[in-house]
């Protein structure tokens, strides 16, 4: 399970241990950690680099207010998504994607009234704040947020404003989404297709899928196979469904 956050700069950032198990922190103290423990300057440098990385994500998710004021929320949302490297489909038109160099045509600015129908923001750095741009798209029908490293439970709690129009949602592969965020999806009563496969932070994928299916009776839920929890013997099965009681 590779940490998705810090692909470029593994060594420097402490947060690279995000999904590593406990004992790997104990063994193998690297040179950098040693230096950071003994020299304040190295520690400050690491903290600075850590903060810079967080700042970069925030910069990517900044709002484009001037576009919103001039061309309306649909155009602003589309511009935001395209800037992140995602794809946008307007009603009655084809998919617009940026090319390999990140450039895209600005034709959609000529038709500010045409609503956005589908958004594919898979793999982008969209986070809680960036979602502002998406939530303004009141006629959005399909939303794909596969493998987005910064989409977490908090983001899911905001999706209720798209409840009237959203019919398809895909959250496959997002490392920060857990079953607690999935509980917020019950607001999306018009949802017909939901993809919650491959969510590493969900503690019990089979049981979660059953509960989500119960919660959204009109929706087709793609996810972990419910027999996944049952591949162990009958004793293991009964222990699986009764979750541990916290103290």
């Amino acid at each position: 399970m590779a940490p998705v956050w810090n692909q470029g700069t593994r060594g420097i950032h402490g947060l690279s241990k995000a999904v590593a198990p406990e004992d790997s922190q104990r063994k193998g103290r690297s040179l950098l950690q040693f230096l950071a423990d003994h020299f304040y300057d190295v520690q400050a440098l690491r903290e600075y680099l850590l903060r810079k990385q967080v700042l970069k994500v925030h910069q990517k998710n900044r709002p484009f207010t001037h576009i919103k004021e001039r061309f309306g929320p649909h155009a602003a949302g589309a511009y935001f998504i395209l800037k992140q490297g995602g794809a946008v489909k307007f009603q009655g038109k084809e998919w617009i994607r940026p090319n390999t160099r990140g450039r895209f045509s600005l034709d959609f600015l000529k038709f500010p009234e045409v609503p956005v129908e589908a958004v594919d923001a898979s793999g982008s750095a969209i986070n809680y704040h960036g979602l502002d741009n998406l939530l303004a798209l009141k006629e959005l029908q399909s939303l794909w947020l596969r493998h987005c490293p910064h989409v977490d439970d908090w983001c899911l709690s905001r999706l209720h404003s798209l409840a009237n129009s959203l019919q398809e949602l895909s959250l496959a592969g997002c490392p920060r989404i857990s079953e607690r965020g999935l509980a917020c999806l019950h607001h999306l009563q018009n949802l017909r297709r939901l993809d919650i496969s491959d969510l590493p932070a969900v503690s019990n994928p089979g049981l979660t899928q059953i509960l989500v299916e119960e919660m959204l009776p009109n929706c087709e839920v793609l996810g972990a196979d419910w027999t996944q929890g049952l591949r162990l013997g009958p004793e293991e099965q009964s222990r699986d469904t009764a979750s541990p009681i916290p103290a």
Binding site: H13, G14, L15, K17, A18, A20, Q25, Q33, A36, Y40, D41, Q43, A44, L45, R46, E47, Y48, L50, R51, V54, L55, H58, Y128, D153, W154, L156, S157, R158, H160, S178, E179, R180, G181, L182, A183, C184, H186, H187, S203, N204, L207, T208, L211, V212, E214, M215, T241, A242, S243, P244, I245, P246, A247
Partner: protein, 450 residues
Amino acid sequence: MLRRSLQFALGRDVLGRGLGTHRGGSTLDWNGKMSEIKKKIQSVLPGGAWTQLHDTSYLPPEHSDVYSQASTVLSVGGIRQQFSVPENIQLSLFSIDFLRNINEYLAVVDDPPLDIQFNPSGYLLLASEKGAAVLESNVRVQRQEGAKVCLMSPEQLRNKFPWINPEGVALASYGMEHEGWFDPWSLLQGLRRKVQSMGVLFCQGEVTRFVSSSNHAETPSGEEVTLKRVHEVHVKIDHSLEYQPVECAIVINAAGAWSGQIAELAGVGKGPPGTLQGTKLPVEPRKRYVYLWNCPQGPGLETPFVIDASGAYFRREGLGNNYLGGCSPTEEEEPDPENLEVDHEFFQDKVWPPLAQRVPAFESLKVRSAWAGYYDYNTFDQNGVVGPHPLVVNMYFATGFSGHGLQQAPAVGRAVAEMVLHGNFQTINLSPFLFNRFHLGEKVHEHNII
């Protein structure tokens, strides 16, 4: 040297605040003055339901774990904006912001990020005919402050949550965002870890005495007042008769349920009744029970934190159809706060009937476990006390939150830090919560106390 230049260069950090505005404020200036104050300040974590890290209660020596009776770790862990007092709503909004960005505020290099296990499922407050008007006006205030709350009629309730029996419910308010529950223990550990990494020293013991000096001053009307200043705190070490005198510049009373006792030790309330000297800190421990039960046919994953019109509440816990719940007893039925023993009869008589009436599936359930914790109950108006004491000049309060301390703790911490460093509240104006109101008799009454 590199460190100082980096911190100077960084200036504004990610969310547009200055460097020194992380919680506690101890990284504000890197000159000698700050580090001296750091050494001298009793290290505390402000927040109503949190004990001071010097174990301040009169616990018997057997309780070596400082947090075993602390209200934080025994809390149900909910956070909501559905209050009636605007300051409470603002405090809660600030705290939810803090919790959302907790890994930016409390990041420690080389440590894994915190997972506070937040469930964003929202709160559902039900009101009968009597309380409907109050609920509606509360929702208006909440919306004005920026909370995302919507009103629901009994019909809408039945459609959205088919497991509810809306009989007797006139109106309901449902928080859509920024409300839910989380794990208080991980928040506590995260704060401790961060604060330790910034150089704060923790000590464990029991506060037995304050040594203070007095000064006389005259008010403009010619009256003489005695101003006190705490110089030393005697901290008794566990399992021994020895004590350590700790010199301090500032004392912050965040002792939760035992704040009243600590305040008395410092001389708050020692004077003729009716005067400012004689005004005690009206915070006392009140015992509350929490029960955990299992109900296989119970409400599903979408269940919010439901608070019934009768005062009984419950929420889901985990994936296995377990539920946590309880009810606050009336004034006459207050249990004795001497210990944390659980009364199971209370569940049978006072908690189960209203919940079973509201959620018919709860007619068959099985209680798995129960525990009790203290509210640091403010007998005056059930709202927090934040800010300095007018006479004991260097004592600040951050207590008395009567059951909603945990959700306001980060914001209160910020407020106390601003008070200590700047002398006034900057982010959220908590002047209605100052100590003076006990003497002046100005109640800040909160309707939505669970």
